[in-house]
């Protein structure tokens, strides 16, 4: 219930933001639909680009958080992804949802960054955990074992994963890619992809068990 209320509130905030933008332009309070916003973005109008950003920033930010090790990195990914999207928005043909198109850009941006940094050693770093602070109230999640974890804790666990594990796990678990696709995208072998996923799952399982033992999970 709390989650639904939160979602409604977020939608209300979004509508308010879009309305404010619309009020500041000659549209006089009329919120344009997606097609109008996209056309405005193609024309390079900053107001429409702002509208598009306001509309999808939160959704895309969650996607970026799954591929980033901390809040700042996720914002960098989000920024990079939106810039790419605005520069290439003419290539959006209208087939499929715009949100899906935008999400693919974010994921590809994350993959590009991963490949760029692939030579770096995978080190589990917990330095950034403290800096991670979700803005919204926490949402409780019920999972087998009768324990409850917050979205914050779940996101934190993903971000604690080494970069390679995190990338493979996110692509597999959230985006539904198969190992062959992951291997192709990341430039690794299929067996490496499988191993990374296995290790990621083990690591996550271990962390959840640990949390339960320490009763760090909200019960």
């Amino acid at each position: 219930m709390k989650r639904n209320d939160q979602k409604k509130q977020a939608n209300l905030n979004l509508s308010g933001n879009l309305l404010n933008i619309a009020e500041s332009t000659t549209m006089k309070g009329k919120i344009p639909d997606d097609n109008q916003i996209i056309e405005g973005c193609i024309a390079g109008k900053r107001t429409f680009q702002n509208m598009l950003y306001q509309k999808y920033a939160r959704t895309m930010y969650v996607v970026c958080l799954r591929y980033a090790s901390n809040h700042a990195e996720a914002e960098d990914l989000l920024q990079e992804g939106f810039v790419k999207a605005f520069l290439n928005i003419r290539n959006y043909t209208g087939k499929g949802s715009f949100e899906g198109w935008l999400k693919r850009i974010m994921i590809n941006t994350a993959i590009s960054l991963f490949i760029k940094n692939k030579s770096k050693q995978d080190v589990i770093s917990t330095d950034d955990i403290e800096s991670f602070s979700p803005i919204e109230d926490e949402v409780m999640y019920e999972f087998p074992g009768a324990a409850q974890a917050t979205t914050r804790q779940l996101m934190q666990l993903i971000q604690e994963l080494p970069e390679g594990y995190r990338m493979v796990f996110s692509l597999y678990a959230f985006e539904g890619f198969q190992h062959q696709e992951i291997a192709d995208k990341l430039g690794i072998s299929v067996s490496t992809s499988k191993t990374q996923l296995l290790k990621a799952r083990k690591y996550l399982q271990k962390q959840i068990d640990q949390l339960q033992k320490e009763e760090r999970l909200d019960l």
């Binding site: 989650r3 939160q6 979602k7 977020a10 000659t26 006089k28 309070g29 009329k30 390079g44 900053r46 680009q49 702002n50 950003y53 306001q54 920033a57 939160r58 930010y61 969650v62 958080l65 799954r66 996720a74 914002e75 989000l78 920024q79 939106f82 810039v83 605005f86 520069l87 979700p134 803005i135 919204e136 949402v139 999640y141 999972f143 087998p144 974890a149 979205t151 779940l154 996101m155 666990l157 993903i158 597999y172 678990a173 959230f174 799952r201 996550l204 399982q205 959840i208």
Partner: protein, 422 residues
């Protein structure tokens, strides 16, 4: 184990499916800045005005590069022959140019004792081969040649033939002298007393007009005619050019909106029912009942202003070559507002009647003065026709608006065009 693994995947997938995190508010600012930068550096073929930044930057860079290159490579500064007084040490010596005719040997020597202080002679000595030295004289002065011949010492072995050889040498020098005279170049043509140039140009102007609540920036194409008088390195120029610029008009209005709250059937007439003698058929018309609400609203409209610009330029050519000139100038520019067009305000309601309409559009001055500085790079396409490229910057002495709260504006632009010299 498999089930556990699946649970882990599901746990995270479902747990993070509807989560709601918000990025910091600074992200949009960064995106906006980066987009502005990409717009700045990218060409947009559908909107040429959009490229004015790029053209301006490219133009200024090109001007700076050309200026720098010319300054570094220029070793032959323009010379006005009429004003040069050669010093004795500038007189080159033809050393022992010998011509053998039979047994006779003529040694022609121009000695340093030659009195050239009152002769406008410049002698350039160039070696073609070890045996021959070429003399180029500018301009031809028969008296100097005579003097030189008079300084020639002749071997007494065969004085008659030797004299002939010396005359041949002098004639040869004379011929080379004629050949060495350069044709009239751009550099020389600029030294003509007064030149009249007429031309046309066009360009783009980026103009910023600060208001109290923000800036209005417009990019306008313009075009016009120029007339220029050149004398030596100085020139004076004037002309006319037209440009249009867009701005917003502001209206506030009290207006009455209408909405239907119900309908009724108004009986307009009736006729007897032919089938039922005791009844009539009503002829009705459906009418709406309207309710009205008075509202207060604001609307922006599009304004279009046309300006006639008359510059008064004074420039100085500080670099010139065979095919180019580079000048700097300062100017006072008079801008006269010649026309204004505006669209009607439109309010958001579908049905409305305006009760009071207030025009809050800032009124503009009809006459504006500005100070302008710029560079002019012109390239000779032929003897008379020139292509010109001119980046400039302008500061207005007063605000474009009559409002005392608004500040004076600025503009920069690029002209390019052609001129013909007469």
């Amino acid at each position: 184990m498999n089930a556990d693994r699946q649970n882990i995947d599901d746990l995270f997938r479902e747990g993070l499916a509807d989560c709601n995190f918000a990025p910091s508010t600074k992200v949009w600012g960064k995106i906006s800045k980066r987009l502005s930068w990409y717009e700045f550096i990218s060409l947009n073929f559908t909107n040429f005005l959009h490229n004015s930044y790029l053209i301006g930057t490219a133009g200024l860079t090109a001007s700076a590069l050309i200026t720098g290159t010319l300054l570094l490579t220029q070793v032959d500064p323009p010379t006005d022959l009429s004003t040069v007084t050669p010093q004795p040490k500038e007189v080159a010596v033809v050393n022992e140019s010998s011509h053998e005719v039979g047994n006779a040997v003529a040694h022609s020597t121009v000695t340093p004792q030659l009195n050239v202080a009152d002769q406008p002679i410049v002698i350039d000595k160039k070696e073609r081969n070890p045996q021959e030295q070429i003399i180029a004289l500018q301009p031809a002065e028969p008296s100097s040649l005579e003097k030189r011949s008079s300084q020639t010492t002749i071997s007494p072995l065969n004085s008659h033939e030797a004299k002939l050889n010396v005359e041949t040498l002098i004639a040869d020098l004379d011929l080379r002298e004629v050949l060495a005279l350069p044709s009239k170049t751009l550099k020389d043509s600029c030294t003509d007393p007064i030149l009249l140039c007429l031309g046309f140009n066009m360009g783009y102007m980026q103009r910023s007009l600060p208001l109290t609540g923000g800036d209005v920036t417009s990019k306008n194409p313009f075009g016009g005619l120029v007339a220029r008088v050149e004398s030596g390195r100085w020139y004076a120029e004037t002309g006319i050019s037209l440009h249009e610029e867009e701005d917003h008009g502001y209206y506030k209005a009290f207006y009455r909106t209408f909405d239907s709250v119900g309908f009724y059937e108004k009986v307009e007439s009736y006729i007897p029912d032919p089938s039922k003698p005791d009844e009539v058929i009503l002829i009705t018309r459906r009418l709406a009942i309207w309710d009205s609400v008075d509202r207060y609203g604001e609307a922006q409209t599009l304004m279009n202003y046309r300006y006639l610009n008359v510059p008064f330029k004074l420039g100085y050519r500080f670099l010139s070559g065979k095919w180019y000139n580079l000048s700097a100038y300062g100017a006072g520019v008079m801008s006269l507002q010649t026309a204004t067009q505006k669209t009607d305000p439109v309010f958001s309601s579908r049905f409305y009647r305006i009760l009071v309409l207030e025009d809050h559009t800032l009124e503009r001055r009809s006459l504006l003065w500005s100070l302008q500085a710029g560079l002019r790079f012109d390239v000779a396409l032929s003897k008379r026709i020139f292509w010109e490229f001119e980046p400039w910057y302008r500061v207005y002495t007063k605000s474009a608006y009559l409002s005392p709260l608004s500040k004076s504006g600025q503009a920069w632009g690029l002209n390019t065009g052609f001129s013909v010299k007469f």
